[in-house]
Structures are given as C-alpha cells and as structure tokens.
Symmetry: C2
Subunit: 116 residues, 2 copies
Amino acid sequence: MSMSLQIEPRPALPLCPIEPAAHIIGQKWTLQIVYFLLDSPSMRFCELQDRLGGVNPSTLSSRLKMLEEEGIVRRTQISAIPPHVEYSLTEMGRSLEEVIRAVTQWSNTWLCGCCS
Amino acid sequence: MSMSLQIEPRPALPLCPIEPAAHIIGQKWTLQIVYFLLDSPSMRFCELQDRLGGVNPSTLSSRLKMLEEEGIVRRTQISAIPPHVEYSLTEMGRSLEEVIRAVTQWSNTWLCGCCS
DNA sequence: AAATCATACTATAATAAACGTAGTACTATG
DNA sequence: CATAGTACTACGTTTATTATAGTATGATTT
C-alpha cells in the first residue's frame, strides 16, 4: 500500500447558529421597528417614520418589506376614510419580545440613557 | 381675553430607549463576534475571520475597533513567539450573554437551522 | 372647481458601509 | 533564501443608507 500525499479536506468549522437571526436583526432600524410595534397593536408608515426619527422612507419601506417577507411583520390595508396601511407584528414577530427585553435591560444597565 | 392663534409646540415623542444599543448591535457582524467571544476566553483576528466565514478584514478590523471603543471588547498584545493579538470580552461584553441567549433561542425556534 | 391636506410611498443622486482582492510588516521555520 | 503564520492596511467596486423631492390617491376646505 502506498501512502499518497494528499490534502486532507479540513473539517468544517462549526457554523454560527445565530447567523440567520443576525442577518435580520443586524440590519439598521430592525430592532427599533420591532420595539415600537411591540408597544402598540399596530402602526402606520408615517407614525413609524416619526418615531424612528430620521429614517429614510425608502429604507423604512424596504425594511418593512423584508420583515414582512421574513414573516415578522404583517401589512394590512385598511379601507376606511381615508384609507391607509397598518403594520403589526405576527406571532413570530411578537416572539422577539424576549430579545427586545434583553437588549433593553442591557441598554439601561450599560449605556445608561440617563447620563449620556 | 382674546384667544390668539398660535402653534402649540407639539410634545416631544418618547425616544426609543434601545437606540444606543441598536446602534451597536444593529451593525453587521457584531452579534456573531460577541457570540464567538462568549464561547472562548479569547480569540485571534484570523481565528475570528475564519469563524465568521467571509467577513472582510477591513470590516472586521473596524468592527473590533468600534467594539473596543464602546468598552465591549478588550484587545491584548501577547509578547510571545510569535507575538500576536488576542481579543476577549470585557465585563460589559460578557453581559451581552442574555441578549445572545435570547437571540439563539429565537433563532432556533423560528429560523429552524435544521430545515433551511 | 381649484387648491390644500393626509397618507404611503417611489425616484434620484450623493455618501457611507461592506466587499473582494492584493499587499505590507514582522517573526520564525525549512 | 524562500515560505509560512499573524495581523492587519490599501485600493477600487458594489451595496446600503441618506437627503431631498416628487407621485398617487382620496378627502376637505375655499
């Protein structure tokens, strides 16, 4: 038997299990959007725009679209006078409450909104 | 008494309390970096690079610099042979464990690493 | 009827963030 | 002397986010 020199395929590194979540959460404005939607049953586009204070409407639009595609946000057309659109969290979206809670806790403890 | 027409200064909207945290966490790679650093006492630049699989070294460099400035990551020069650099979490960084835990939980429940 | 307002966006051009690729500077090892 | 490991930086390109303006619809005011 001859041992031939060959390159061992190196064992795959363990993947980062939070990567898919980080892909969603680690985008600008996502956490804030979820934060506000957790706080009220539904919000309008302009309302979110105001609350986020300074987000670009194009960015907000694409972020909401992405969150809808991911199953986190629900978009509802309301046929009232005047007709408008309401955004709310799905069950999947509401389940981010634990994450938001942890972030809020951390933020209050370490970033200290009181003494900036 | 005459009622003069005047514009009420509208009450300031309540700020988003997680904004400072979102500013840090909501950047690409931050969550993954913290995830891996929580898992081992310290890591090297190249090690992180490998684990993150595909991050640009410039981006990783600036992200680590930012995390160091924020007080989350500690950079230590090791004068051994060969000399190198080790990155580890500060107490503030380690306190992100709750956040990572919540994200991991959510990721496992809803993004289902098993059936992508 | 015309102008104005509210709502929910889209369009455009500019800047900032992240990217791929390559290269640098150091030490050690073959 | 060439190659390898470590920790980056440099360069030019693509993608994301931004500021600002504009569109489309329907209702309300003049």
